[in-house]
Amino acid sequence: MNTEIYHCVFTHATDGWSGSGGRFVAVERNAPELPTDAEIELKAFLGKLMPESAAPAWSMRRFAAGADRYACVIASYNGFADAGNRAGVLNHARVVRLERDSIWFDPFPLVALAEDFDIESVKQLDPLDRLQAYLDRIAEEDAVEVRALSRQELITLPRELLREVLTGTLAARADNRGHRRVRAPRGRLAHIARAWAALPVGLQRQSTWAYGAQDGVPVQLIWTGDAERINVDSPSDAVIDCVANYMALLDSSYDLRTLVNDEEINLAPFSSLVQVAAATVASLPETNAMSKKAQKPESRPRPTAGFELEDDAAVELNRQYDRILAAVKEYVDQRLDAYDAGGAGKPAVRPAQSAAVAGVTWKQWLDRNAIPIITALIAGVLLTLGVLFWMGRIGGGTAVRHRPAASVRTETREAAVIPESATETADERPVASPQLRKLIEAAARTGKWKEAFLTFTESEPETVARMIDDTISAPTADANTRASLADLRDRVRGSGNKLDSSDREALRKYLLQYVVSREATADDGVVVDENVSDLTPPLMKAIKSQTNATSSSDKPEDFELQSEVILRWLEMNPS
C-alpha cells in the first residue's frame, strides 16, 4: 500500500540570505502533523547527525506519537556550504506513518528510495543552487510502499548479513555504555534496514541506528567504516545464542506475529522467549515447514472413544472447573450486590432480560438457572479438551508448555511463541528444575528456606541473572538501580558462591520485589490479584505480608518466609 512521505530537512546550506549555521527549511509535505514531542525529538536528532567521512551518513529510527506509529530514514549529505563557507551538511528525514496492520513493516522500499537518490547531480551544481535543487527533487517524492514485513523476504536476505545486523543491534542494546560503533556490514543499506526490521517492533524502537555517522548522534548503534573507531569487544555469548535462536525461529513456521508486533518488549524477555520458543521448535520437527531439514510429522495414535484423561489433563480440567465455578459465583454475587444496592436507596434497576420473565426476580432467576449455566460451561470445556485430546495435543507432548497468565501482559508475550498448530487451551505448566524441586522438598522438611534459597542462587545463577535482567529492563527502574542490578547480576553470573552477605541480602530483596511485581496488579503494585494468580492462598498471603518487608523488616523469620515465597514462586513459574 502506498503511503504518503513527509519530509523534514535541516541544512547549513546557504541561500544567500540566511546567516551561517544550521536551520530547518520548509518543504512540500513538511512533517507538521507530528505531535510536538515527536517533532522536537526528530528535529533535535536531525541537528545531531553528521557524516564521519565524505560519504553520506544514514540513520533509521521508529517512534510513536500518541496512537500513531512512524518510521523514518534520515540521510546526511556533505557538500552544502554555509554562509561562512564552512563545509556543512543537508540532513533529510523521510517519515512515513505506519498503519496498524503493518507496524512490523518492511523498510526496504523507503530506504531504497533514499539510497537511490542521485545526490551527486545536486552536488555538481553551484553551491547557491544546491539546496533549492535538492528541495525540487524531493518534491517529486510523495509516496512510498509501506507494507508488513514478510518472512519470505527475510529468507531472501544473505544469512550472514542478517546475523551480523541482528547481532550488532542486540549487542548494542545490551551494552551498558549506551551505544556501540561496529564495523559496517557489506551490503545495501536497504538490506541492512530490512535485516534490522526483522526484530520485534519494541526492540526496533529501542535500537535506533546510524550508518557512517560521527559520534554524538543519539543512537544505540553506529555502523562505521572507520576501522580505528570500532568497539573491539565482541558481543556476548548470550547475544550470539539469542540471534541464532531467533534466526531459527524466523526460518520456521512459528507464529511470531504477537512477538514481532510487541511494542514494549525488552531485550531480556525477548531473549528468554526466543530461547524457549527455539527449544520448542527443535522439539517440533513438523513445525519446521520452511526448514530445509523439515521432516514429515509422525503419525499420532488417535484416542479411542471412552478415553481416559491423563493425570495432567485431569488436574487441568479440575482447575478449569474451579475457575469457572468461582467466576460464575463472583458474577452472581456482583449482580446480587448491585441489585440489593439499587433496592435499598432507590428504585431497583433490573436487567433488561428480566422483562422476559415477568414476575420472577433476578435472584430467583439465577437460583433456577445457575446450575444449567455452570453445567453448560463445564460441558464446553470438556468438549474443548476432548477435541484437543483427539487432535493429540494434550498428553502428546507437542503443545508448548506455558503458564496461565499471572497478568495479561505475560500472557500476551507467551502467546507470541505458540506454534500455529497449538491452541490457547494447551495449558500445562512448565516443570521446575530437579534441583529446585529437591531444594524445596528438603526445605519443606527442615524449614530451612533461607539456606535453600542461597543454595539455589549458587546452583542456578543463570535463572537468577535472567530475573535480574528482567528487572533491569523494567521501565520504572532508574539508572542507579539498573547499574547496581547489573553489578549484582554480573556477580551472580561470574562469581557463583562468592556473593557476600550484603549481596545475598540485596539479591533476596530484589527477587522478592520481582515476585511481588509479577503477581501484583498493575495499578496498586502490591495487592496480589487472586483472580488471575496461580499461587496458592497461603503463598499469596505470605507475599502480601512480605511486600513491605523488603524495606522494613530484617527479622530472621522473615528471611525464611521470603526465601520460601521466592522458591515456591519459582517452582510454579520456572519459565
Partner: protein, 350 residues
C-alpha cells in the same frame, strides 16, 4: 573537594563516587566497584592520594557513579574550572579551543598542560582532523554534551599554581537557542551549564570588520551580519539570566576572534602578537572596536550583565582559514590570554 566526570558533567562529592582496589580485586577474584566512602582509608595518605582501607599502600581507582567511567583522582574542580566557550555559529570556537591547547603545550606560555583528562586530546585531534582534512572549518553538530567534552590539568611552569579546566564545544546554534532547548534532548548540556564557572564569549572578528566597513561607507548591513549581532545579544541575555539566577559572579572574557582580519589595519595593529600592547590596552582597544562596528547594544548588555569583564582579541590561525589549511602555516596570536584571565591565573602569575 569535588571530582569532575566530564562525560556526565557531574561534580562528584566523595559520597557519589565508586572505587575499586586492585589488591582487593586480585585477592577475591571479583572485579567490583564499591562506594568510595566504604573503600577509602579514613585519612588520606601523606601524598593526598585516595588509598584502600584494607590495603593502605594501594591507591584506589575512582569511578563515576553514573556512567562508571574512571574519574582521574586529580580531576578536582576549582571554582572557575568549567569554562563555557560561547558564541554564535562560525565565530571560531572550535578552532580557538584546538589552538589554545596547542599553545598550552609550548614553552613560551607561563602555564602548561600537565595532563589530558580522559580522551580529551584524542577527541580534539579528531575534531581538528575534520577541519584540516576538509580544508577549512566545518559546522559543529548540535549534539548534546556527550561528545566534544575536553578537560586538562594545567600547571604554572614555575610551580606557583595548578588548575583543572574543562570545556564542552557546543554548536553555535545551541547557544542561540539557549532559552528554548529541550531538557530531554540536551540533558547533559544543561548539567554542563550548571557547572560553568567562567565564560569566554567569542565574537566573530570578520563580522566586526564588516560592521565597521558598513558604517564607514553608509551601506546596508548584510543579513549575515545582522543575524550575528542579534544572535550575540540573545546569547548574552540568556547567559546573563542563568548567571543572575545563580547569584554568584562569574568572570567573562569577551574575545574577538579572527583578529588577523582586523590587525591588518594600522589603527588595530595593537592586536598583533608582537605589538607589546598590555592587557589594559587590548581591553580598551576591543571596546572601541565594538563601538565602531555598531555593537553598542552588545557592549552595554555585556557591561551591565557581567562582572568581572575583560576584552581580548585573538587569532587562532593568524591568517584566513582558506583551503588548503596546513598546520605548519598557523601562527596563533594571544589565544591563551582569555583563559588565563578568567581562571585568575594571570593574577597568580603576576
Amino acid at each position: 573537594m569535588k571530582f569532575l566526570c566530564k562525560e556526565c558533567w557531574l561534580a562528584h562529592e566523595p559520597s557519589t563516587l565508586l572505587a575499586a582496589c586492585k589488591e582487593c580485586d586480585a585477592r577475591t577474584q571479583i572485579r567490583r566497584l564499591d562506594p568510595l566512602r566504604a573503600k577509602v582509608a579514613a585519612s588520606l595518605d601523606a601524598s593526598g592520594d585516595l588509598v584502600c582501607r584494607l590495603h593502605p599502600t594501594e591507591p584506589l581507582d575512582v569511578f563515576c557513579g553514573e556512567c562508571r567511567r574512571e574519574v582521574p583522582p586529580r580531576a578536582i574542580l576549582g571554582e572557575q574550572s568549567i569554562v563555557a566557550l560561547v558564541g554564535d555559529t562560525a565565530s571560531g570556537k572550535t578552532s580557538l579551543l584546538w589552538v589554545l591547547t596547542e599553545r598550552l603545550r609550548q614553552t613560551t606560555v607561563a602555564v602548561r598542560i600537565r595532563q589530558s583528562i580522559g580522551d580529551s586530546d584524542v577527541q580534539l585531534a579528531r575534531a581538528m582532523r575534520d577541519i584540516v582534512e576538509h580544508g577549512g572549518p566545518r559546522p559543529t553538530p548540535m549534539t548534546d554534551a556527550d561528545v566534544r567534552n575536553y578537560a586538562w590539568e594545567l600547571m604554572a611552569r614555575d610551580g606557583r599554581g595548578g588548575w583543572v579546566i574543562a570545556f564542552h564545544d557546543a554548536a553555535g546554534e545551541l547557544w542561540q537557542q539557549l532559552g528554548h532547548l529541550s531538557r530531554d534532548e540536551y540533558d547533559r548540556f544543561y548539567r554542563y551549564l550548571k557547572l560553568v564557572g567562567s565564560i569566554i564569549l567569542a565574537i566573530d572578528g570578520d563580522r566586526i570588520l564588516e560592521g565597521i566597513d558598513t558604517r564607514t561607507r553608509g551601506d546596508v548591513a548584510s543579513p549575515a551580519m545582522l543575524a550575528a549581532e542579534a544572535n550575540e545579544i540573545r546569547i548574552v541575555d540568556e547567559l546573563a539570566r542563568k548567571i543572575r539566577a545563580r547569584g554568584q559572579p562569574i568572570p567573562v572574557g569577551v574575545t574577538v576572534t579572527k583578529a588577523d582580519m582586523v590587525w591588518e589595519r594600522p589603527e588595530w595593529s595593537m592586536f598583533r602578537r608582537d605589538s607589546g600592547a598590555t592587557a589594559d590596552e587590548i581591553d580598551r582597544g576591543v571596546r572601541e572596536l565594538l563601538r565602531q562596528s555598531g555593537r553598542d547594544a552588545l557592549l552595554d548588555t555585556l557591561t551591565s550583565s557581567f562582572a568581572p569583564l575583560q576584552f581580548f582579541a585573538v587569532s587562532a590561525f593568524g591568517r584566513a582559514a582558506d583551503a588548503p589549511l596546513r598546520i605548519a602555516d598557523l601562527q596563533p596570536s594571544r589565544v591563551e590570554e582569555p583563559l588565563l584571565a578568567v581562571l585568575g591565573a594571570d593574577r597568580v602569575l603576576a
